[in-house]
């Protein structure tokens, strides 16, 4: 039973530590898995399908960069809004990103221009625009959303480079915690498996004594496990003359003697036949 418990704890600990270690290494201290910059060849606009962003609570960073300080816009919006907005426009629709970067996409034909500037719309859940670069940093909500990378004004997206980062809120701290917890469990499993006592066996225990709670009662020594160190308790009464008498625990308890000093002798070699 003890062996199986120890083994199970060890396995759980190793798995947890491995997982925590892997995630810690993947995310790094900033809690982000970053890929890019990657070149995207298009002069129209880029939109993801909802299936690309099918997790909620994930932190997402999208950095879109354009040469020559061209204005660029990155926005996250509900799919109903984004689809209606870009639906009539020529665009690249990203079906999947791949890990770390193996995008699949299709080109959809349509008009050259959007009906309105993206910066004038009020339904973006998160959006950023900038000259030469736009950096969107957001947490994916629990609704069907799409990311759009759009040109602003007369500019186009020629020369677009995209960097992505995924993160878990407090991911580094949690993965590090999992690593340490896993290591602790693994160590605990080893100790349990090998039968190492996890705490010292008490030589004296306190018994309830309604008459005098402060006074310790003498109890019989707890029997030690077969494979543990055997302990022997000896009670010595010192009389008025300073003479020491060995008494039993029952005698000490019956006379109401008080234990005034405890002397522990560990692993002291005792000559055969000589009393300690």
């Amino acid at each position: 039973m003890r062996t199986r418990l120890g083994l199970a704890t060890l396995v759980v600990g190793v798995l947890l530590a491995a997982l925590g270690g892997a995630v810690t290494a993947l995310l790094g201290p900033d809690g982000r898995y970053v890929t890019g910059p990657h070149e995207v060849r298009t002069d129209s606009l880029v939109v993801t399908r909802p299936a690309v962003l099918d997790w909620q609570g994930l932190e997402l960073d999208v950095l879109a960069e354009l040469p020559a300080e061209k204005p660029v816009f990155v926005g996250l919006g509900n799919a109903v809004d984004v689809e209606d907005y870009v639906g009539q426009t020529r665009r690249i629709v990203v079906d999947g990103v791949g890990r770390p970067w193996d995008p699949s996409y299709e080109e959809v034909d349509g008009g050259a221009n959007l009906d309105a500037s993206p910066v004038s719309l009020d339904w973006w859940l998160a959006a950023e625009a900038g000259l030469g670069a736009a950096h969107l940093s957001t947490t994916l909500p629990d609704e069907t959303v799409e990311v759009a990378i759009l040109p602003v004004g007369e500019a186009d997206l020629t020369g677009l480079r995209v960097s992505l980062a995924y993160g878990v809120p407090h991911g580094f701290a949690w993965s590090l915690g999992a690593l340490l917890l896993g290591l602790g469990l693994a160590l605990l499993g080893v100790l349990v498996w090998r039968g190492v006592p996890l705490r010292p066996e008490p030589a004296l225990v306190w018994l309830d004594d309604e008459d005098d709670e402060d006074e310790p009662a003498v109890a019989a020594p707890v029997p030690a496990a077969d494979d543990a160190v055997e302990e022997q308790v000896v009670y010595v009464l010192v009389d008025d003359d300073g003479t020491e008498h060995e008494i039993t625990a029952e005698e000490a308890a019956a006379a109401g003697y008080e234990v005034v000093e405890e002397v522990v002798v560990e692993d002291a070699p005792t000559p055969e036949g000589e009393p300690r």
Partner: protein
Amino acid sequence: MRRPLLVLLAATLLLSACTVPRPKGDQAAEKVAATPADARRALAQYEEVLSVAAEALDAKPLAAVEAGSMLDIDTGTFEVAQQLQQKGEQRSEDLRILDVHAPMRNAYPLWFVMPVDDPGRDRVRVQVWRRERAAEPWKLVAAPETVGDADLPELVEGEQGTVVVAGREKPSRLGLSPQEAADTYAAALAGREAPEAQLIVPDAFVEQMWTTAESNGRLAGVRFRQEWRAENVDVALRTRDGGSLVLATLSRRDTYRVAAGRQVTWPGGSPQQAFLDGGGISSSGTLRYAHQVLLLVPGDGSPVVALGQLGGVTGADVR
């Protein structure tokens, strides 16, 4: 000692689970048509544009915040005010949004219904806002005013606090579909002898329309014809009694054919006179009206009740 530690560990894990990313469920594209913040923003922008237009007695800015029959009615109102050199009606500064009824939508156009209390006029306007495209702003398309002390019915609630749209089908064996209700109401307005008049509750508006038509029909030397038509209904909400709350837009055409030597005129300062450039109709002419009617269609087959109404002259053709 161990128990509190275990509880702490369990609580920490549970709390951490709340922030751990997880796959989304259904990936169907849908959204709540508008949040209360969207509604507040739309109303604030509308009031701003309306005050500019009212100050200049110019209806052109309204096209940015109004559409459909609402724009037609307000444009007509502004044209009348412009010709008569009258200031627009006094607007209340402290409009109060009573509620925002927004359905779940999976495509544009989006719309929502918003009762707004206008304490200055002691009326509730049931505003209907519509966003035709994602690239366009919210526009006010209807704002019927409640009649008397009419209360809006309780609406069926959907997920995330939304309201449920009443479809084109009949809600029950007895009740009318939204489009049937609108068509019935329009047909009933044609005259008190119309068979459909039995299917509606004749309120003050209906009585006024009947009386006006009868008066015009009695004009000597004038052939008068009044036509009512209900436009397609696309705003209707399911009510808890199994019926529906329907916004019906009705178009009305009053045609006058006047015998030689006679003329039909209207009182000075009336919208009709303003649309007729201060004159009357001496040969033949048509006045066009738009009416927005908020209909309560009971689920048990009871007569249709108009809870609110707004209308006005939208144009005139004179030969």
